[in-house]
Symmetry: C2
Subunit: 371 residues, 2 copies
Amino acid sequence: MAQRLPARPGDPVEAIETPALVVDLAAFESNLDAMATAVAASGLRLRPHAKSHKCAAIARAQVARGAVGICCQKTDEALAFVDEGIGDVLVTNEVVAPAKLARLAQAARRARIGLLVDSEHGARAASAAASRAGVTLALYVEVDVGAHRCGVAPDAAGALAAGVAALPAVRYAGLHCYHGAAQHLRAPAERAAAIASASEAVRSATASVASAGLDTAIVTGAGTGTWTLERDAGVWNELQPGSYVFMDADYGRNVRAGGEIAFAQSLYVIASVMSAPTPSRAVCDAGLKALAFDSGLPQVHGRGGVVYAKASDEHGVLEVAPGAAPVTLGERLWLVPGHCDPTVNLYDWIVAVRDGRIEAVWPVDARGALG
Amino acid sequence: MAQRLPARPGDPVEAIETPALVVDLAAFESNLDAMATAVAASGLRLRPHAKSHKCAAIARAQVARGAVGICCQKTDEALAFVDEGIGDVLVTNEVVAPAKLARLAQAARRARIGLLVDSEHGARAASAAASRAGVTLALYVEVDVGAHRCGVAPDAAGALAAGVAALPAVRYAGLHCYHGAAQHLRAPAERAAAIASASEAVRSATASVASAGLDTAIVTGAGTGTWTLERDAGVWNELQPGSYVFMDADYGRNVRAGGEIAFAQSLYVIASVMSAPTPSRAVCDAGLKALAFDSGLPQVHGRGGVVYAKASDEHGVLEVAPGAAPVTLGERLWLVPGHCDPTVNLYDWIVAVRDGRIEAVWPVDARGALG
């Protein structure tokens, strides 16, 4: 069931079999450097989200640049990184299934493992699993700061934190305050308003924790769309951006505020044209199984007048504008995915290229790690 | 990178780790039987599309019920099935990359391999690969019968068929006449009109082939949404439905015509509730990486008042109507995917259940076979 290796180090990019997931190393490294430098300058901790890349080689590159560890979204995703030697993983999600908690507790023998709770039930289940394994799990109370997904109300954070602090084999590690819905608000003012409101929620939550007699400890959150706002808000001390390593067409639609870093698009799906039935229409080999479509269609990079117009399972229909250079059979197109995270999850390999050559082929270690 | 085995044969369904892809065997087998019986009664050939399931165990069940072989959509998908012993595979897609054609030609030593052409270029490339391998590839001329994706115009079919017939190591095997865009037209009258128009295109194409001095041979096409129309049109002699084995929420929105078989929903993603922060909102563990969203949101099966309202990477937000039974932490939900094909491609395993027990766990042999 493993995907064929699409290329080998040393090959020219023309040798990559399509469809393939490709990272432009120059853009990728400039993104890593820019984020690491900016967060270091702020004095905050950087814990990048690895759900975007699912790739240990990239996590190691982030840790080498100063990240305190990584975030994951699922138990099996976290285990894939621990297996690859990442020593500090926060699962930014509630885990209540006993079998999954048992696996996380086992992993805590080899790495620092954190996870979120938003219920007494979840805290007790984590405590039971950690007790059984003879380890300590770090529990973060998730606070609903505006996304209306998981999380307790801000003024309930203290009670749950105190509940965690009273349980064996777990420790209260801080607050998880992530506003996912704010990341793709297009206008800077909308994002600023959302994070201003989230900041108020964080203040309420930290007051609630203080009134329960606990230190706030870590306040972690933020994503690629808003991280400068959390950085400057004065209430977060750890930032979790993930998509900045790659970027995507949807993030590309955000209007950047003054002072925001212009992360470069580094992720592409290379596709090949397999049919060109009319001058105005061609069809490439990357469709619904090669790209995620939840955030819109991919964009064709650097090919004026050619638009990816429609997808079916294994076809991408391209519209060719009058006057555009003709699209030819076998021609390769570099597509910018609509949404990087679920696109990466469709691939077993990331082909890392520099100056027209393949420098490395990285396994997507946590591909498909849903459990 | 392989997914954890979500369950073992003999386990109760409650033991399946979530998210998991599950097939209800009773519904699944009734779908297989109903299609096999109906197509056999018509005297036409059945060549089910395996892009829906990517699973050799299912392909074998289809062949055991009389299918002449299977369709695939990609080279590596076809090879996965040949490796599993399927002896007759038609790649219902153009293949022009020399490396892929070389692999298909190698496979033709072990199985009957067909593929589509809609250009002289494609025909010559296939001929060259087959010559090099010392095999014969079956080439089908794809005709655009209304989908406006790949394919030659109907009156150009004869010239391309004659071109194929003149090349070494390939043979003209017939016409591929599939109207993908018609499958999800909601009203029976719309689908009937689309296939009536496609039938006219097929007649033009067969006339074109006849005037080139060739037998029409096979005319293959149709899908789950329209197969009774192609069956009854008198111009197709081979049918390619795929989704009928599983069905999905999008096919469920088609209004059925009188006489159409009511295929049962057999495919589910089982998810678990991991957060229930308010009485009206809960969150499950199946999001954008556990389900395909190109054809809409999944439906919650058999749980009145609970609606899957929104997805993020690994979260599904559920709205709970006033008066519905409360959603509880750890509760399992059976979700009907919006679109079966790209959802199956997210899993390495299909858990086959009957009467509340796991009967088998089938590998998704061609998962991720994009090449």
